[in-house]
Amino acid sequence: MSVTEQHFSTHKGRQTSSKRNRRTKWLSALRRDRSLYLLALPGILFFLIFKYIPMWGIVIAFQDYSPFRGILGSEWVGLQHFTTLFANPDFALLFRNTLAISLLNLILFFPFPILISLGLNELRNMTYKRLIQTVIYMPHFLSWVIIAGLTLLLFAKGTGLINELFALWGWPRVDFLTNPDSFWIMVTLQAMWKEAGWGTIVFLAAMASVDTQLYEAARMDGAGRLRQIWHITLPAIRSVIVVLLILRLGDIMEVGFEQIFLMYNGAVSEVAEVFDTYVYRTGIEQGDFSYSTAVGLFKSVVGLALVVIANRLVKRMGQEGVY
């Protein structure tokens, strides 16, 4: 530090602009609270190395990256990888699958936690309520590997429990997992099983803040439970619902990667390939780093744009955005 100090004091007399002033300010701040900046250093280094250096790595999407020549030595090819992607028939497929899974999520998954919360909120027995909550929150903490494994043990055509039951009753065995027609609905149901309970937390918190006097007043006016839900509870959580819905729309490029990756099999590849799994297959498995980075970049940019638009919408409606 003494070196900085010396360096600093020799220049002190010569510089007079406001630039110097600013520099003096942060330098002296650094000097005064050395310990504070030292404390932040590991975290800052972490974000620099593991979050910002990869952002720089994006440039290989515009190169013909060769691992031997590195980023600096590789040849620039401009937007070639993007034009290849858009011309590739896979592209339409990726888009369709990603959108289909996201939209199914929106239609089936999204309202589910709201319905459960409304039900839970009506329960009068607190022990019973807590018991149910404990059970339905739990799947959130299980890994996708375990959930995919459980799905297989229950639904597999040969040895799965459900098909064993069907066989016992003399019904034909049903192909749940390697059937392209049912893949989308299977992954949606799977996601619902894992996350629906967890999704109730935010709605229940919103419901808990409703003034109980409103319910009493409504009861005085002769409103039954259903009318109270319709006229008090739902309006109370409307803002939360709208915010989450819009954010969901912003996340439309995001489908659970691990989930799809683990449920993927040759029979369903036509309907199961989404952007992230495609990046993994072309990049890691086939070693086409530049092309797969371009695909990933396309997905991230569209995703970022959607999130920004969604956040704007949320704010325009007078709600607090995410950032």
């Binding site: 910002y52 250096i53 990869p54 329960l123 059970v135 339905i136 039954g224 990756f261 980075t293």
Partner: protein, 290 residues
């Protein structure tokens, strides 16, 4: 009035029943796997469907745990979860605490840069290339270092430190305490409940980590439990679950799979009650404030 009450009561019972059924449906897969994994192998092979076993047995577990591959992967995961959690808490909380101090000169810029990492991710490949350049392929630290911190957690932790009275830090610094010492000897002990909650979430995250391990670890001796599970459950590849020179009768594969699932869930189930207490409280605090 009387009739209304009756309809209300029916409605409430119906609601309670429907929710109860939902909870049963959600719990059933875990119950089924648990029960079958503890069933006598002979009984399972004979009946195929076991909901209430006649004869219990821990054979699948003794077999599974005696195989070197399984035991080793459990050890790897335990290392990941403990070492990773401690490192994550240290890095995240020190940065978050520094950012919570008003006199931190670059806090606005840094906060913006951290939020940016939440919104935009460069994708799988640049991350993979970075880990490779760092020489971390086939190194267990490849699962820890890139996961040390994330924007959300740092933001949440910073919000938590903001809620601590500023007088504590001020008083400490007037007494000549450096920021590092204040963080370590005063702030961290005061934040134990919050750190425990963050730590448990980190621990579950490390324990459940699958994709990073798949990307970075080729050597099966270094696999954490989730990758081993994937191979056992989904790839149906025969990883050497038999110890060399071992000549025992193998329990049915399905039972081994179920036992493996239960073993992998067990640590999560053990910390779950603690996490639950914290996130319920967290949600409550949020709702009171809003």
């Amino acid at each position: 009035m009387h009739r209304l009450k009756w309809s209300e009561r029916i409605g409430q019972s119906l609601n309670a029943i429907v929710l109860g059924l939902l909870a049963v449906a959600m719990f059933f897969p875990l119950y089924y796997v648990f029960v079958v994994s503890f069933t006598d192998p002979g009984e399972y092979l004979q009946k195929k469907i076991v909901l209430f076993p006649q004869r219990w047995s821990a054979e699948a577990y003794t077999y599974l745990l005696s195989t070197p591959a399984f035991a080793r992967s459990l050890g790897n995961s335990a290392f990941l979860a403990t070492v990773g959690t401690v490192c994550s808490l240290a890095v995240s909380s020190s940065l978050a605490y520094a950012l919570s101090q008003k006199r931190f000169y670059f806090r606005k810029v840094l906060m913006f840069l951290i939020v940016l990492t939440i919104l935009f991710s460069p994708g799988i490949i640049p991350n993979y290339l970075l880990v490779r350049e760092l020489g971390l392929i086939n190194n267990i630290w490849a699962l820890i270092l890139p996961a040390l911190a994330n924007g959300w957690t740092v933001l949440l932790m910073k919000n938590f430190f903001d809620s601590l009275p500023a007088e504590i830090s001020e008083a400490a610094s007037i007494d000549g305490c450096s920021a590092i010492r204040t963080w370590y000897t005063i702030v961290l002990p005061l934040s134990m409940p919050a750190l425990a909650a963050f730590g448990l979430f980190f621990a579950v995250g490390y324990w459940n980590q699958f994709f990073a391990a798949l990307l970075y670890l080729n050597d099966s001796a270094k696999w954490p439990i989730q990758v081993l599970l994937q191979n056992m459950l989904l790839n149906a590849s025969n990883i050497d679950l038999v110890a060399p020179g071992q000549q025992v009768e193998t329990p049915p594969t399905e039972m081994l799979k179920m036992a493996a699932i239960i073993v992998a869930i067990l640590p999560v189930l053990m910390v779950y009650p603690f996490i639950q207490k914290h996130f319920a409280k967290g949600a409550m605090v949020g709702s009171v404030k809003g």
